[in-house]
Symmetry: C2
Subunit: 397 residues, 2 copies
């Protein structure tokens, strides 16, 4: 039996939800709170750069919001990942496990440590790492030594696992955490997309020794460019602050640095933007969950495609909404992408899988059947929180 898919029906379903004007982006930020007030305060006081009250305030607000003990603001999500891996003890020639289905930053950050990305498969229910498949795989390829878990095939140590909460949907963290404990692997959460997403009632980022957030322009809140490291470990938090600020030893006038550090500070002016955005986050999440519900209804009866809903045990921020084409309709993907983008509805496919990129094609990997299947069948559709406010205005007006 061949299923069929009608691109025009999908466009109609999207349009029934978004009430679009000429062009509907994938995710546009909203600045309707204290953004200008706080940014103007930076300009008025001259505190725009590496020191200033908004950096401290943003870190406190992030820690409070996520319920994590410490948040360290940095220049972007990639920097947050890089430093998290380093502080978790990843060194040159280690292997680090990550999904093949992720944004390039996860693999790049591993490379910056001189480590080797090792690609694992995802599961359909979360779009993230499959803990059970990983456990089976590790039981086959590893041996435990005093120094940790070793890949018997490459001879390299496997030091860490970096799940990514795809499009805001939490990975199944409890069983993944167990796998990490069993194989003595450090867990680092790539929570770049999941600010405001919860797993079993706790904010994502709590299971990792350290976790990384991103506030890039397309994220649920933005600081222009920015990121943060979350951790409940006070010593690691102190180290994170230290090495992201050039590892300078505090002194009124002397310039002494005690290790090779990084210039990964978030400028105060960007943190000011972040404070205002974070004040509005609960409202953005309300709007985005409402949007997801509308999409779910609009797509309930559309043939050949399913709207992706949050995994069990999770409450997702629905950062980017997801359609999964039926297996038999995968061949429609490119036509659908072309048609939607041509008519001003921005859509995009999954990122090219990491092991299909030239620079990572020789990296170790497990069977990636699910990743390959999903990457051929997934598209993201417009997800700005403003879609809902706009539609409500129209309905009310």
């Amino acid at each position: 039996m061949t299923s069929s898919l009608n691109p025009d029906a999908i466009i109609e379903a999207v349009e029934s939800v978004i009430n679009r004007s000429d062009f509907e982006p994938l995710h546009a930020p909203q600045f309707e709170g204290n953004e200008w007030k706080y940014v103007k305060d930076c300009l008025d006081t001259g505190w725009v750069s590496s020191v200033g009250k908004y950096v401290d305030l943003f870190e406190k607000m992030l820690a409070d919001y996520t319920g994590t003990k410490h948040a360290i603001a940095v220049v972007n999500g990639t920097a947050a990942l890089h430093v998290s891996l380093k502080l978790a003890g990843v060194v040159s020639d280690d292997e680090v496990i990550l999904p093949a289905f992720t944004f390039i930053a996860t693999a790049n950050a591993i490379s910056y440590c001189g480590a080797v990305p090792h690609f694992a498969d995802i599961e359909f229910s979360t779009l993230g790492l499959d803990p059970e498949k990983l456990a089976r795989y590790l039981s086959e390829i590893t041996e435990m030594k005093e120094e940790g878990c070793f890949n018997r095939i490459t001879g390299r140590r496997i030091k860490a696992v970096v799940p990514m909460h795809t499009f805001g949907h939490p990975v199944d963290l409890d069983p993944l955490f167990e796998v990490c404990v069993k194989y003595r692997l450090e867990l680092i959460e790539d929570a770049a997309e999941s600010l405001g997403s919860y797993y079993k009632g706790k904010h994502t980022g709590h299971w990792g020794k350290l976790s990384a957030l991103s506030f890039n322009g397309n994220k649920i809140i933005t600081t222009g460019g920015g990121g943060a490291i979350l951790t409940n470990d006070t010593i690691l938090a102190r180290q994170a602050k230290h090495i992201t600020t050039t590892a300078k030893i505090a002194h009124a006038w002397e310039f002494v640095h005690d290790q090779i550090g990084y210039n990964y500070r978030l400028p105060n002016i960007n943190a000011a933007l972040g404070c205002a955005q974070l004040e509005n986050l609960p409202e953005y999440i309300r709007l985005k969950r409402n949007l997801a519900e509308r999409y779910a209804n609009a797509f309930a009866d559309i043939q050949g495609v399913k709207f992706f809903k949050e995994p069990p045990n999770s409450q997702s921020n629905y950062w980017l909404n997801v359609l999964i084409l039926d297996e038999s309709c995968a061949s429609y993907r490119d036509e659908l992408l072309a048609k939607t983008n041509q008519c001003g509805i921005m859509t995009r496919p999954a990122w090219r899988l990491m092991h299909q990129l030239d620079m990572f094609s020789q990296a170790p990997r497990m069977d990636l059947t699910n990743s390959e299947a999903l990457s051929n069948r997934l598209i993201n559709i417009p997800s700005s929180p403003s879609i809902v406010s706009r539609t409500m205005e129209v309905n009310n007006g």
Copy 2:
């Protein structure tokens, strides 16, 4: 004969110039132009992040101002150095020559490439690399092979030289360039401090294959945090833009990356600040050169100390003003630093020399007599452009 130095006389001389209030910082930015207008435009249009008109405009304005063919805006000066070194071909286990007398970013950027910093001495007349001393040293320790210049002692290739234009004063670039040609070394200028400084009528950054600027909060213009790569080579410029933006291949919706890249984009909101600041740069330079002249006069007759003036052949931005204590007065340095900072005049000594930091103490180095002498005798004094406007207001009022 023992010289003497009276700290109170120095404080008086500084005070005669700065007409200070409670606290005089080393260098505070000024936002009296279009900063608000451009930053607010970013918020009003929603373009705060990695794409937007101010990034392009800032790059064009920088290229025009410096007379360089291309400028690529990045997240900070360290990132600009890192990418410049990488694109100049510096790879793991290469050695790179730099002054021991520099800010940590120069050495860190070399380390990020997996290369080894190799410290060279500076000269008194420029506070930067001494080309003649470097030439003598290279003639003693190197041998030329097909693959380039090799350090006979360590066996490693020496790939590049990174002069730093200290406190805005240009290094003697012509003879240094000749040394680089002779030994087939790439020249990368660390021009982080020298925006607005000229050597023989041309802006600093023209001699390097690539050069790095910084717009940190304490620099002559600021973007909060930011930097730029300058180059006259169109192919390198394209590569620089590519690898600082995650090496993503341009496509309306696909996410394909062709190498391990970096997330080093300058956000649009920071670039907006930069555009407004750059419009005011000629005025800042006028004010700062005027300030330097006032200091020179105020210190003309003060015993035990000399105000540092721009090197021959150069026009300096006088980013941070410099006092050099007489050799016989070096022991007064710490007392002078303590007294000035205690009374609210911010001063600071030279950075701790690179080879005196733990992580670089084993790195190769030449005789560093001048660096060591100067680092014990140098202090920076308040240098904000606003000092002059403030004083002029007082004089006019």
